[in-house]
């Protein structure tokens, strides 16, 4: 990888291409398959900054702007920090395999980094606004027995030129979504991008569906899952980098998708994941990082706090949802018993009217409880999503630590080799000396690479975090507003019903 050390603003598309001297487009051979075989999900081999990087880089032949580099597209205070914090000038775009070209419309106005070339690129993209909407719908049961699965229709409506069509849909099953996530995670998590986590597996829920129970709870489960999948996809495409990822595009567009078997819990890949997770947990405890950047320390603390708070919120919302459900069940039962009472009282026509009306009202009550319940689900699901997202965020921070560790390790190794070389100088072993010198050279390269990696991931994380925070606030606001609106509506309905009933009640004397 050419080291464009003289490249202060890191986004010079054409510039970089030229320097690279690489022919972008006909690199389908090793780039096509989106599984970077050398990058298993959790483990970053020290050789990863070698040729493998290139293959990632050239991954997207259909994307004209594949070589365009990462660009600070957010108008956050972090950018000022980035400009001024004087990292090593070697901020080369090693990492982003695909990239976002332009700031999204709306941020363009204060974009200090936009050069004229970028304006061009922006126009070439057709002046996109962020216009993509994904629907997951029509869950269909395919197959029978334990091999059955639910197929969901994924419909994309977009005006982005990134896609071949404006409006298209495909059929996907749950493991496809998991497969997508695992591919994205393996590509992006270790370089600092917050990849939205996929919805969780649920053995119980799926077994019920498979067995074919057509009851309330399995319908609810399917609905919950459908909505979670939709949110997952929307979050993924909202991320400017992930949107351009070929895996994502393939997922959304191609009618046939290779079955993602490694997502099964009991597969060898699954076991590998578990082992890696355990290893990571141990490693985390042993890495003691010298945090030179207060920003990161603060943010990490912030996310820890947020995690705790959101979990608490999530729990209370869950219990509230549960109680509301109970309330609606009880109200229904009460309505029934009131109806019976009304039917048996035939002393006065009035008393019967009373009971019947009470029953009608209670039924309405029940409907409303159901509605309130559904809205709460909105909250509960949102909070659950964010709890999982924060786990991903924390994971990204952990990766940064790992990157740092690698850098330090290679630095220490270099130190040792240098010492060894110094010693060898006094002995008379020219070939060994040469070998040592070669190793040192290689290690120096590695150290530099490590440092660059670290800088890069730090930068990426800063951006990601600020984007995440913005999204978070927006998300919560939207959901809360939705909930409040429907709450008001519900209450108004209730008033109407009770007001209608009041004169009847008064007439009972």
């Amino acid at each position: 990888m050419a080291d464009t050390a003289s490249d202060p603003p890191p986004e010079r598309t054409d510039f970089h291409e030229v320097e690279d001297g690489k022919d972008l487009f006909p690199e389908p051979a090793d780039a096509q398959e989106s599984q970077p075989a050398s990058l298993p999900a959790e483990d970053i081999s020290t050789n990863s900054n070698g040729p493998k990087q290139d293959s990632l880089f050239d991954e997207d032949p259909e994307d004209l702007f594949a070589e365009a580099t990462e660009e600070v597209s957010l108008d956050s205070p972090e950018r000022d920090v980035l400009l001024s914090d004087g990292p090593s000038p070697a901020i080369t775009p090693i990492t982003p395999p695909t990239s976002v070209i332009t700031p999204r419309i709306g941020h363009a106005h204060d974009d200090m980094f936009t050069h004229s070339s970028f304006d061009e690129i922006e126009e070439e993209e057709g002046g996109d606004s962020f216009d993509i909407h994904i629907n997951v719908s029509d869950p269909e049961k395919v197959g029978d027995g334990m091999n059955a699965y639910m197929a969901y229709k994924v419909t994309t409506k977009t005006s982005l030129s990134l896609f071949k069509m404006k409006d298209f849909s495909v059929k996907r099953r749950f493991s496809d979504f998991l497969g997508l996530h695992s591919k994205l995670a393996s590509k992006y998590l270790h370089i600092g991008y917050i990849v939205p986590p996929a919805p969780e597996k649920s053995l119980v829920g799926m077994t019920k569906v498979k067995v074919g129970k057509e009851d309330q709870s399995s319908n609810e489960f399917v609905e919950k899952r459908r909505s979670a999948l939709e949110r997952y996809l929307m979050r993924t495409v909202k991320h400017p980098i992930l949107l351009k990822d070929p895996d994502v595009l393939q997922f959304l567009e191609s009618s046939e998708l290779p079955r993602a078997v490694s997502t099964q819990a009991l597969s060898s890949a699954g076991l590998l994941r578990m082992v890696n997770k355990a290893a990571d947990a141990v490693n985390k405890m042993t890495i003691k990082m010298n945090e030179s950047d207060a920003w990161f320390e603060e943010k990490q603390q912030h996310f820890e706090n947020l995690d705790v708070q959101l979990r608490k919120l999530h729990m209370s919302v869950e219990s509230l949802v549960c109680h509301r459900k109970e309330l609606s069940v009880n109200t229904a039962q009460f309505a029934k018993s009131t109806a019976m009472l009304g039917n048996s009282e035939d002393h006065t026509a009035l008393s019967r009217a009373l009971s019947q009306l009470a029953e009608v009202e209670e039924k309405m009550d029940q409907l409303h409880q159901d509605q309130a319940n559904a809205d709460f689900h909105l909250f509960s699901e949102l909070l659950g999503d964010y709890v999982r997202l924060i786990t991903a965020v924390k994971g990204v921070f952990d990766h940064r630590m790992k990157t740092w560790q690698k850098w330090q390790d290679s630095q220490m190794l270099l130190q040792k080799k240098r010492e060894a070389e110094a010693k060898l100088q006094f002995t008379n072993k020219p070939d060994k000396l040469q070998q040592a010198k070669d190793e040192i050279k290689e290690l120096e390269g590695k150290v530099q690479q490590g440092e660059r990696d670290f800088e890069q991931i730090s930068k990426t994380i800063r951006k990601e975090v600020s984007r995440f925070e913005k999204e978070r606030v927006k998300d919560f606001k939207t959901t809360i507003i939705k909930y409040l609106e429907s709450l008001v509506q519900t209450q108004q309905q209730m008033i109407k019903y009770w007001e209608a009933f009041l004169p009847e009640a008064k007439a009972i004397s």
Binding site: S319, L320, L327, T348, K470, K477, S509
Partner: protein, 354 residues
């Protein structure tokens, strides 16, 4: 301290003015303050009574054997005994009356007293006067057992419950009452479930509101500030939802809850009356059979018994007919229902001003 009071008297207070104002805790037991207005309009009789005093009164009312047809009376139901630290079984039995800091319970006792005072036969018992006006606590000795005590215990008497009636009116009444008893009990139980769940929802809202408050973060960061503001607002919303829920639940208890509870207990009381009548009917039929089959030696005696039983039965039926007509359960409790349902409507309307 009075012994068995069987004399007839006239009540010197306004029946409808009887109020159970308060329940005071004395150790494990509750004492109730009762105030009744004098008929003469010259003041009030404040007395304090324990649950045992109520039982004393009830026993006296039950044991008026001299009053013809007393068995035909639907006795106003007395709620079960309340304790300060009641076991869960007792609480379940009390249902609505155990909620709301004994307010509904006081109301139930009040209704009992008012119904007794308003009853043409029962109000004449001196025990009522003594209960309501005497500053000394009435006698607390155990009154002798009578048929009323045995009622719920006699297993073999259950057979008699389904004994076919000779009078169509009463047969209908019995069938009807059977259904009503079950229905009203179920309705009361289900409504209790609803109210308890309402309270649970309110508590959960409170927790959520508190948890939201914890999310408030200090800091200059505009994102943080936006988030914190949202959380505070939402927390306030949920706090008011909680308050509204609690007041809805309170209202439910004090109106429809109490009404349904009374209705179901009243149905039970009527059921017991009808059962007593049926027992008497069985007794009468036995007496008639005995009189027919009796050997000449015993014949005269049997005839006497038969005649006595016939008279008793006649009285019972007369009283019962009146009871059933006058205090038709719905009319008794409808005056409770009406405000119950109406209040419920208004309250929910008021809830919406979030």
């Amino acid at each position: 301290m009075m012994e068995e009071v069987n004399e007839v008297s006239v009540l010197s207070v306004h029946g409808h003015s009887i109020t159970v104002t308060e329940a005071l805790k004395e150790g494990d037991a509750l004492t109730f303050l009762i105030v009744s207005e004098k008929l003469s309009g010259t003041g009030e009789y404040p007395v304090d009574r324990t649950y045992e005093d109520f039982e004393w009164l009830q026993q006296h009312l039950f044991s008026q054997e001299a009053v013809p047809g007393i068995h035909g009376v639907i006795f106003p139901p007395l709620p079960a005994k309340a304790q300060v630290n009641a076991s869960s079984k007792v609480l379940k039995q009390l249902g609505f009356l155990a909620l709301g800091e004994w307010q509904p319970y006081c109301k139930a006792l009040e209704t009992f007293l008012r119904q007794v005072a308003a009853h043409s036969i029962l109000s004449k018992n001196k025990a009522v006067e003594v209960f309501l006006t005497s500053s000394d606590p009435p006698g607390r000795q155990k009154v002798k057992k009578n048929i009323f005590n045995r009622l719920s215990q006699a297993v073999e008497e259950m057979r008699k419950e389904s004994h076919k009636d000779v009078d169509e009116f009463f047969q209908t009444q019995r069938d009807h009452n059977l259904t009503l008893t079950v229905c009203s009990k179920t309705a009361a139980e289900k409504f209790l479930d609803v109210v308890l769940t309402e309270q649970k929802v309110a508590v959960a809202c409170g927790h959520f509101s508190a948890a939201l408050h914890l999310c408030v973060e200090p800091g200059e960061d505009p994102d943080k500030q936006a988030f914190s503001k949202t959380c505070v607002k939402l927390s306030e919303v949920f706090d008011s939802i909680k308050k509204n829920m609690m007041s809805v639940a309170e209202n439910d208890i004090s109106t429809l809850g109490v009404g349904l509870d009374l209705e179901s207990r009243y149905q039970e009381a009527e059921k017991e009356m009808l059962f007593r009548r049926t027992c008497k009917l069985v007794e009468l039929e036995n007496a008639r059979r005995n009189a027919e089959k009796a050997k000449p030696v015993k014949k005269a005696a049997m005839e006497e018994v038969k005649k006595a039983t016939e008279t008793e039965f006649k009285h019972i039926c007369e009283v019962a007919k009146q009871e059933v007509h006058i205090s038709s359960p719905l009319r008794v409790s409808s005056h409770l229902f009406r405000p119950a349902i109406a209040l419920l409507g208004e309250e929910v309307g008021g809830v919406v001003s979030i």
